[in-house]
Symmetry: C2
Subunit: 397 residues, 2 copies
């Protein structure tokens, strides 16, 4: 456990909160397959989520169990607070086999530990919890009752500890550096891939004081007409005069994220682009000014919606979501979203990415901020000009 | 479809081969959720797999349907060969909702298209096909029969076209550059994160002639005693004299991968390390010399096993796997593995990552090669010294 990111007491507190929710849901045994939840509860941190693995929380046991591939047990020893008796490797012939499945091993384990007649929670809609996992578990444990434990641990994660906030603030510093690298590099005739290489270098090298971790999403870089398609990655095409470029990225420190989006124009922006940017920034400012503990997520969205109403621009999708610890493919926590019908009440040390992107048929704009809810308002995490950015700057003169 | 990676005829051929397998399996409608399979069949390419999306292949229809989030429909138009009528967006309130699920939308769509009384194949054990997906589909389509279509498209992917091989060769060129950046940067007192920043920069900027894409796995960099844990990522610790460092990375071009691993020692290697490295290289060479069409995967592993037998070193895990087009979290294709009981017969234009890593309790070594099966042997894809690398080189003198 030489790579542990938090004090053991913090992990134990997380475990306790998880068990309280398990009691409320009537779950005796929780099978945690979401890599972020696994890491949150145990510290486990390795790129091994491409094979089946999980953490087993048993309501009346002090330590969870990690179950994973044999060659990853050593990573569990280095990165988690679990003792060796709670690190349970399965043999390599379970990997991507058509004959045996890792969940069969999990069934045998639960039987051996006499947990097979209890109520078992599974993260039904979590990444990496496959349909096959569900069928093998329910088939292999006929005496167990199954309940949906999707997002149970995610909801524990929504309020951050002070140390988690410190990690997210470090991530925000890295995000500033990465966005700076992007803006400094974009120019007519430069290849998109060379800009993203500069971003990625900044994301990973971090600052002089601390290094960066890999963000859960690669830099997104829709360019030109393709700014209408927000989740496109880069190509090796070169930027042309007049291209708008959306840059969505995050800084990441010890798996904690602070995302940020900006839009850069190569050369002179069109009137339309300037108009949309002004609307987006006004909405962003209005929401950030209003946010305080006690508001609901829905109310935040309403402030934003009211602000842009007069512009005639319409937007169907949510304007933000809870962020923090995560693994690919997402830095969002899948709990609170800033959108109608989300009645989550904002509390201090919740953290969100507020991203009211506007995507029309042939052009799109993203200007976003990540924020922390404070005792009486909110704090924007990164410090970067909140404007439509023009490159090279000289053209503004 | 301005970003299409292959000629439409190649996509149609892939679709035809997929349908042949569907007929053989008695599947009328295949729901393809694996992002690599989605891309393989339609060209679709965006970082949107963090929400539910799929491609629907109907046995008696000319074009598949793409179903995904509204804001990603524009990416489908830019990157796939499908016409607009086959791009079906769902509303944003399906995203991470506790009230409605994207698979409910899929059920409605299949009913509307009168496909709800047929035999439906689902990729039961594919990434991103969750237990919830399975339950919503089977519950919502009570008149359909369900069959497991896991890896059905993956098996079509296993033999590459000449254009795919060209992409993989470009990926290998990028892998050479990235590994070169790693070896040039590692040194006593240098931070791990700064080495990975250099690797990532090289991976993404690619070569002067073509840019790089994001590999499906970030660079892995277990260092010192932690070389026993093959899937650890980096920290911001500095390298110390005597540290062994495992570097596993891939070059990626238009989503096609060519992985490579090397082990570098900072300063002077121990006798043990030199011994294990020699064993690994001898086994690697023996396997590469033997590989030719007609052999089974099991036989390749046997050649390697026989070669290292006398060393006394034991290894339980597989020594390689099929590679190609992929998305996070894995660049492996989940079809053929080089291991006992895998009777897949090698054929020309299959591509593999041969990675006979050895991980002992306190030290590990990885030296690997990716290869293409040729008409009468195999071709190693990247050209990089196949040895235990010493840094700085001067110390060897």
């Amino acid at each position: 456990m030489d790579l542990l990111s938090f004090n053991i007491l913090e992990y134990k507190e997380r475990l306790e909160k998880t068990k309280q929710r398990m009691v409320a849901e009537g779950i005796d045994v929780l099978l945690v397959t979401d890599p972020a939840n696994m890491s949150y509860l145990t510290g486990y941190n390795a790129w091994s989520f491409y094979v089946h693995q999980l953490v087993v929380v048993i309501i009346d046991k002090d330590q969870p169990y990690w179950i994973g591939r044999g060659q990853d047990a050593s990573a569990a020893k280095h990165t988690s607070w679990l003792d060796d008796a709670h690190i349970i490797p399965y043999q390599d012939d379970y990997v991507q086999s058509t004959i045996k499945h890792p969940m069969d091993f999990v069934c045998d384990f639960l039987k051996e530990k006499k947990q097979d007649k209890r109520t078992i929670g599974v993260e039904m809609d979590a990444y990496y919890f496959t349909g096959r996992n569900y069928v093998q578990l329910t088939g292999g444990l006929p005496d167990a009752a199954f309940k949906d434990g999707t997002n149970l641990v995610n909801w524990v994660r929504i309020i951050k500890s002070d140390q988690e906030i410190e990690y997210i603030k470090r991530a925000a510093k890295i995000a500033e550096k990465a966005m700076g690298a992007a803006v400094d590099t974009i120019n007519e005739g430069v290849r998109q891939c060379d800009v993203v290489a500069a971003i990625s270098h900044a994301q990973i090298s971090g600052t002089e004081d601390f290094g960066g971790d890999y963000p859960s999403i690669v830099p997104l870089l829709p360019t030109g007409e393709k700014t209408s398609a927000c989740h496109l990655t880069w190509t090796d095409d070169v930027f042309k005069d007049g291209d708008p470029v959306i840059i969505e990225l995050a800084g990441c420190y010890k798996r904690y994220h602070s995302p940020m989006a900006r839009t850069v124009v190569v050369g002179k922006p069109t009137d339309q682009l300037q108009y949309i940017a002004a609307v987006v920034i006004e909405g962003l400012n209005a929401a950030l000014d209003a946010i305080k503990p006690g508001m609901t997520c829905e109310e935040v969205e309403q402030v934003w919606r009211k602000s842009i109403e007069k512009s005639g621009i319409k937007k169907e999708s949510r304007v933000g979501y809870s962020i923090g610890l995560n693994y690919p493919p997402d830095w969002g926590e899948h709990t609170a979203s800033l959108r109608p019908s989300d009645y989550t009440i904002l509390k201090p040390n919740m953290t969100f990415h507020l991203i009211p992107g506007i995507w029309l048929d042939h052009v799109g704009i993203e200007i976003s901020e990540s924020f922390r809810v404070t005792e009486n308002g909110c704090e924007v995490l990164a410090d970067f000009p909140r404007e439509l950015l023009i490159q090279p700057n000289i053209r503004l003169a």
